[in-house]
Amino acid sequence: MILHRDDDPTRRPTLVETGDFHEVTDIITIPAETKPTATWVILLLMSLSLLSVMVGMIGYLFWEGTGVWGVNVPVGWGWAIVNFVWWIGIGHAGTLISAILFLFRQRWRTAINRFSEAMTIFAVMCAGIFPGIHVGRIWVIYFVFPIPNSMGVWPNFRSPLLWDVFAVSTYFTVSVLFWYMGLIPDLATFRDRATTKVRGFILSIFALGWRGSARHWQNYERAYLILAAISTPLVLSVHSIVSFDFAVSKVPGWHTTIFPPYFVAGAVFSGFALVETLLLIARQVFGLHKVVRMHHLDNMNKFMLLTGSLVGYAYGMELFIAWYSGNMYERFAFYNRALGEYWWSYWIMVSCNVIAPQLFWFKKIRFNIPIMFIITILINIGMWFERFVIVITLHADFLPSSWGYYRPTWVDIWTYIGTFGLFGTFFLLFLKYLPQLAIAEVKGVMPEANPHFGDDHHAPAGANAKGH
């Protein structure tokens, strides 16, 4: 029985449930080398359909203009910004797992880092769509970049929206580099196992001539450490700058100093939730149980408990200081959030983000796959509503005569649903054609990888995994 095993404090969890390197290679490479299963094809077709819905909605938006959305006075930012922040938040767990957990020598990350890095990249792609299509005059979208032009028009460098452009594109670039660099040794494994010339040729290009020599590995490890150090500040900076979009303003409920770390905690929270949702499915479909073990899921659940509580702390501070400030507008904004016309969205947010993860205090729940699956989905619903609650604060602005009730249109809704098609398409292609888990790194955390393995004098059984 899994429960109670870790009551022994000296126990070092077995991160991989096999002692055979070849088996690890097989677990990860075989899905990519066999014909796609029917489930995969059906899922891909569904994703492609949703993707085409998204393309259709965006085309319609370009044709008609942003009037087809529900945005209006006073809610000038509707679902588009909500979806942007939600997707970009999801894209945060990738770098946290790859970079920060790497720097903390958290070896359990090897089972999930590749997966979450890929998720990061696709989530950032989905996020990037919304500000892009929100500009209205799409033909002058190049204005978001500071490109010298004959009109002498420059973006406003003092606007957080411009900082977003830089923050998100830097984050995307570094995430892709990080992901790709980690892929190189595994692509070489794929290449070496290729049975057809075409496959071997293509993979040999992308494997960049990797031969696995000691010098290759040394360079690889060094580059990995440097990239990890470079991307660590990015985990904090991207969502801090996203939070600036709101917090630099004077809008009550938006302008509060805790926003940057609060947004970062929320982003990591939702990122972990979606990684776990997808991981639970992939683990089942591709049979990854020996590599993605309950220990990994347990740790992820604890992360969600921590970040969910941090988010709860931030909600509490916002409420308390709104009252403590004595500022009547600030007080009204929070009163209105909790008890005004949109009370339901506020309480969905609180129950999904603050209350639901508290269930992870119980070990039985952290080890129960169906319940954790439901909680991860609730968290992502809650995190979507968090952004909704923030944006919708606008519906009762400083001018009571303009107060209104915001409703999304069908175009808003289908554009959002359509982004799941984009995400799903890329994610399914990744699952099928690339190594889902970092083969070389998973092998590296197996006790058998220790040079002293089996040498009883130096390394008694169980004392091998020393990184914690």
Partner: protein, 399 residues
Amino acid sequence: MSKDNYRLNDKLGGGPIFLGAGVLGAVLCVVSFMQNRKDFFASYLTAFCFFLAISTGSFFFVFVQHLARSAWSVTIRRVSETVAANLPWMALLFIPVVLGGKDVLPWLDKNMMANDALVHMKHGYLNPTFLYIRLAAYFGLWTVFSLYFLRTSRKQDESKDPALTTQMGKVAAGAAAVFALSQTFFAFDWIMGLDPHWFSTMFGVYFFAGSVVLQYCFLILTSAALRRKTGRKDIFRTDHFHDAGKLLFGHNVFWTYIGFSQFFLIWYANMPEETLFFQHRAAGSWKFISLMLPWCHFAIPFLYLMSWHVKRNIVALSVGCVWLATMCYIDLYWLIQPNFHQAGAHFGLSDIASILAIGGFFLFLFIRRLNSANLIPSGDPRLADCLTYDNGVITNEQH
């Protein structure tokens, strides 16, 4: 290797000197109180918050090690457990501040409570009864938890019972929740509350970030002293200093991030009720400190601590810790004293007296307690891992 090899018989010295410093400081405090009450309370509160932050930061360190089931930190954890257990003594040292009443917290003035519109609006929170109930709760909870961790860990020295580690892991989860709220509201009540008009949701996090930096400075310096005293490089390993140094570096960047975000959002929105805080700190010589902190608390230590040569060199790392601890003091000075001295900073007798008094007693009590049991948690089941863990650095150093 017998197990008694980890029962260290050496004692950390300096106790009587610190006691003497404490007594001298106490006398000087009385003198400075006679000279100028306002000066005294400003200085005393600053010094108090500095040493309190060492204890609460260490408390944070202890429960985080349990929550993360970390093995690397076992041998140096006793230092943090012991200094966190100074929290009950801190309650006694806080009595002068409480007696200061409206000389410390201006809103305790009956006149202000009745006539200041903002203070009046906050009466539900800013009232003396609730203030003292909260204060009792903070110190009560801190006492219970900090003594629990020290006592349980010491009990384990004898019993070697691994179940105690499991138990401490569970209590640590509750400690985390208690800590987050109690430290935040302590900072709201006794630092932010010095100016009852000003507010910031980030304030609790800012104080927390500084307290963790300070805690690592204290931990590294004390561990360095223990390494020198005991000569046990196999217990207080270079890897420990390296890793604690990394965490110090990381938390200092975190402090900067929090400080910058708070400043930046207030500066950008430029709303009078918030900018007042920085306005006060731009007056006279306060401006010099405001401009100095980003360089001396962040930029210089950032570059200095980045190299692992520094983090693995105990003397060099200790220099960095003394520097950063000084900066943490100046940071608290900058948070607290502009509320008392609007025209500019003036560091004087009362500041020196308060540091000597609180610091002297604080360190005396710490050393006495540290010496009264084994210097490391030798019964911790993760001790073996701690003594052999590998943080991935390949060097030619001789251990």
